[in-house]
Each structure stands twice: as C-alpha cells, then as structure tokens.
Amino acid sequence: MSLQISNLSKSYGRVRALSDVSLSVHPGEVLGIMGVNGAGKSTLLNCICGFATPDAGAIELGGRGICGQRPDHVSRAGVGRTFQVPRSFRSLTVLENLLVVPARGEPSGIRLDRAHHALEKVKLATLANNYAGELSGGQQKLLELARILILAPRVVLFDEPLAGMHSDLCRVFLDEVAEMLSRSVAVMLVCHDPGILYRLARDIVVLHEGRVLSSGSPAAVRCDPAVIEAYLGVQH
C-alpha cells in the first residue's frame, strides 16, 4: 500500500511549518526524510497521523484520502508510527503496553501469543512483566517497535528511531525494519543522521523551512549543492 502526499501545507499562526510538500512512499521501500530542526519533519508526520490538520493538500493511503482523519482512524487504516521521544505507558507492564492495542475481533489467546512473539523479536521477552517506566530509552523505542509489530500496519512512520540508541539495540531495530520491507511494508524514516538514510533509503526527501529542498536517490541528494549549503552553511 502506497502513501501519497500532494501539495501539503500547514501553518501555525504566521509560521509556515509545511509549504507545498509532495512525496510518496511505496511498499517494500524506505523513504528517508532529512532536515535540520524546525524543517517540518514532525509536522509532516503529525499531519499524516491526524495529530495536525493540514491547511491544504491531500494525503492518500492506497488511493484513499486520509487527510484530516483522527489518529485512531488513520491507525486503523493501516498507518503505524513511533515518536522521537518514545511514548510508552510507564506504569503498565511491557506486555500490557502491547495488550492495550485493540483486539479487533482477535481471540485473546492468539493476541497474547502475538504480543509475546513481538516482544521476543525485539529482545524484550525477559522484561515482559517489568514496568515500561523501568526500561532504558533505547528499550522503550523497541517497545514502540513491538507495538508496531502487533498493529501490523502497511505503512510505518519512524521518527528518529535510532537517536541515542545503543548499537546492539540498533541492530535489533534494523533487522526488524528489513523484515518489514520483505513483507512489502512501506517505511518513512525521519532521521537526523544522513549516513543511516544513505544506507537504508531508496529515496530521500530533504525538508528545509517547511519546503522540499531536494529529493531523489541518496547519491543525488548527497551531491545536491542546496543540501550541502543547508547542512554546512557554505557551498563546496
């Protein structure tokens, strides 16, 4: 299922957070989103997920408009998301964090099995009965990833998933992303670190002051003078 964004604009008061942004992400591919702080990356994700309502433009999931829909509707339509600062339910156990995901008719036994399986995949099975508040920051990001696995969305939006994560945990995360791609999940990866995006993404979109500064293959983007200037402040 593809996610198509066309001419998306969003302002907060007089601040133009997004301006005429168009991009698309397709099954089995990673679309990298790059940009300095304030470039509009989080606003873009918030518009897709329904936390913010765009002023103009369209968001289509598999050809169906989801623009302006509530976050729970967007989630049920097949979009999963993680947050830059992980949002776990700190006084629920790790397992309970997965069990709050609506069952949608799934028998409770199967759901419990899937939750345990998801925890095994992200190497948190031994911590299933610990409170989520006891996990490290990196483990909390893996817990969010486990929630994504339970939801089994068709499109996943990762917001700075590897920031501050230990290299062992990064490997767990990247393995799961690779598996998602093999299942034709479309992945949008917001990341500060160009190195990671150059390695993972098929295409990269660089946002700058709410606009698309550059887009294309990693090789094309890394040589784009506008990107170099925006990142380094000088043109080489």
Binding site: C49, F51, R70, F89, V100, P102, E134
Partner: protein
C-alpha cells in the same frame, strides 16, 4: 476513651472506603480525560436523592436504589458527554473549559434538586433488621455496615476492571499518554464517553451509600462532596486509582481522629492541612509520583 478511639477508627475506616470510592470515580475522569468535573458532587448528591425517593417515598430497600442510581446517572452523564464532551476535549484549554462547564452543570443540578425537593434537609428513612450490631462494645448501625459492605464489593470490582481488563488498562494508559493510545487505534473519545458515564454511575451509587451514613442532605450538599473528592484525589495523586483509595483513608482518619481529640470544627481542617503539606512536599500526591516512576 478506648471505646471512643475504637469508634473513631471504625468510623474512619467506613468513611475512608466511601471517600475512596468518591475519589475513584472522580480520578477516572480527571486522570483519563483531563476533565475537572466540578459537578461530581452533585452527581453523588443525585444518587442520595434517588435513595431518598426509593426508600422514604416508595418504601423499598436502599439496596434497590443502587442499580436505579447507577443506571440513571450513567444515562444522564452519557447524554451530557455525548452533547458536550468532544467540544470540551477539543478546546484549546480543556481543563479550564471543563471547569467552567461543569461549574454551570453543578449549579443547574443543585437548582433542579431545589425545584424538585425544596431546600429542606432530607434523609433516607429505612429500618434495617436488626437495626444495629454490637461489636467490641460498639453499636454499629446496620445501615452503615450495608454501605461499607457494598463499597467493599465495588472498590475491588473497580480495581479488577482497571487493572485486569483491556478497557481498564486502556483507561489507565490514557492517563499516561492519550496520543500514544490514539496512534495504536484506540478511539479515545469513545473511551472517554464510557469512562465519564461509568464514573457518574459510580458517583450515583456512592451517593446512595453516603445517604446511609450521613444523617441528612440538602440540594446544596454537592459542593462538600466535590471538595472532598478533589482533596482525596490530589492527596493520593491525580489519576491514580490506588492513590484515591489511600487519599480517602487519610482524609477520613484525619477527620475522625481530630474530631475525637480536638473537636468537630477541627476535623475537616486537619484534612486540608494534610493536603497542603502533601502538595507542598510531593506535588504529584502520595502515590502519583511513585506510580509514574514504577
């Protein structure tokens, strides 16, 4: 003195459970929805008036008033929230918007009760058989035993709901992070509607039980219940079910023991003093902070 002390402790335990129940229903709404329901006391009071009608006017047992109060308050709250809930939660400042809205609702309910029942104090007149029990030299009215008994069934049932069911866990998760709950596909608005209605139903039942314990109530008694409810949940920790129960116990014990040692007028003051101290030292309340950390 010993029997007085025993009596005060027994009273404190009985009131503590009822205050805990009062706080529990309030904290579900405040914690999960960030809605300050200033009409909560009037919902409790409406339950007391249901008990009055069912027992004193219709002659049935107060126990019959329990399901009536629950269903009536549940339905009224459901209708109220269906009309105004989404708008309140979508407001720029939901806490202030709900504060003002429910203040209006509390005045409206009090005026409605005044219109229906006049300003005279009312009480539940029903004679249980036997009228009282004698335990350790203390005479305990059966009405009080019944009220505490029902509360002791309701409180664990509520805890089972909150800690063992998926909906209950989702409600507690909403206290922690509403956005994270939305993004996994939970319809938080619908959850809020159910939580508000259940909270009002429990408030109604609490009103029936309090009517068995306190001798009389008027259309203006609601404010006292609202204040007690907020004191209890702030003491224990906003949004913490366990905290509400603990806060209820502390408030009741301070009230009863201070009344015994100093006098009735100092009873309520002690509870508020403890509240000020707790907020000054642990702003998140006694359990609130611990629960977040755990």
């Amino acid at each position: 003195m010993t029997s007085l002390m025993t009596g005060a402790i027994v009273n404190a335990i009985a009131l503590g459970i009822l205050y805990g129940l009062l706080g529990l229903s309030l904290t579900i709404v405040y914690g999960a929805m960030r809605i300050a329901n200033l009409a909560h006391g009037e919902m409790v009071l409406a339950g007391s008036y249901v008990a009055y009608v069912v027992t004193t006017q219709l002659g049935y047992s107060p126990l019959a008033a329990i399901p009536v109060a629950f269903i009536l308050l549940f339905l009224l709250a459901f209708a109220l929230f269906a009309v105004a809930g989404r708008r309140l939660q979508a407001a720029r400042d939901p806490e202030m918007a709900s504060f003002l809205f429910f203040y209006g609702v509390s005045l409206m309910v009090a005026s409605g009760l005044l219109f229906l029942f006049d300003a005279d104090a009312r009480s539940v007149i029903f004679q249980f058989q036997p009228l009282s029990y004698r335990v350790l030299g203390l005479v305990i009215p059966k009405a009080r035993v019944v009220a505490v008994g029902v509360a002791m069934v309701l409180v664990p049932a509520l805890f089972l709901f909150l800690y063992r069911t998926t909906s209950g866990k989702a409600l507690r998760a909403a206290v922690m992070n509403r956005d994270a709950l939305r993004i996994v596909g939970v319809d938080v608005e619908r959850l809020s509607l159910v939580a508000f209605s259940v909270s009002a139903g429990i408030a109604g039942v609490t009103g029936v039980l309090l009517a068995l314990v306190f001798p009389a109530f008027t259309p203006f008694s609601g404010l006292d219940y609202t204040i007690t409810g907020f004191v209890v949940i702030v003491l224990g920790g906003l949004g913490s079910p366990l905290g509400a129960l603990l806060g209820g116990m502390i408030f009741a014990f301070s009230e009863q023991l201070t009344t015994l040692w100093i006098g009735q007028s100092a009873g309520v003051l002690a509870g508020f003093l403890i509240l000020v101290l707790v907020v000054a030292i642990r702003p998140a309340g006694l359990i609130g902070q611990a629960e977040w950390k755990s």
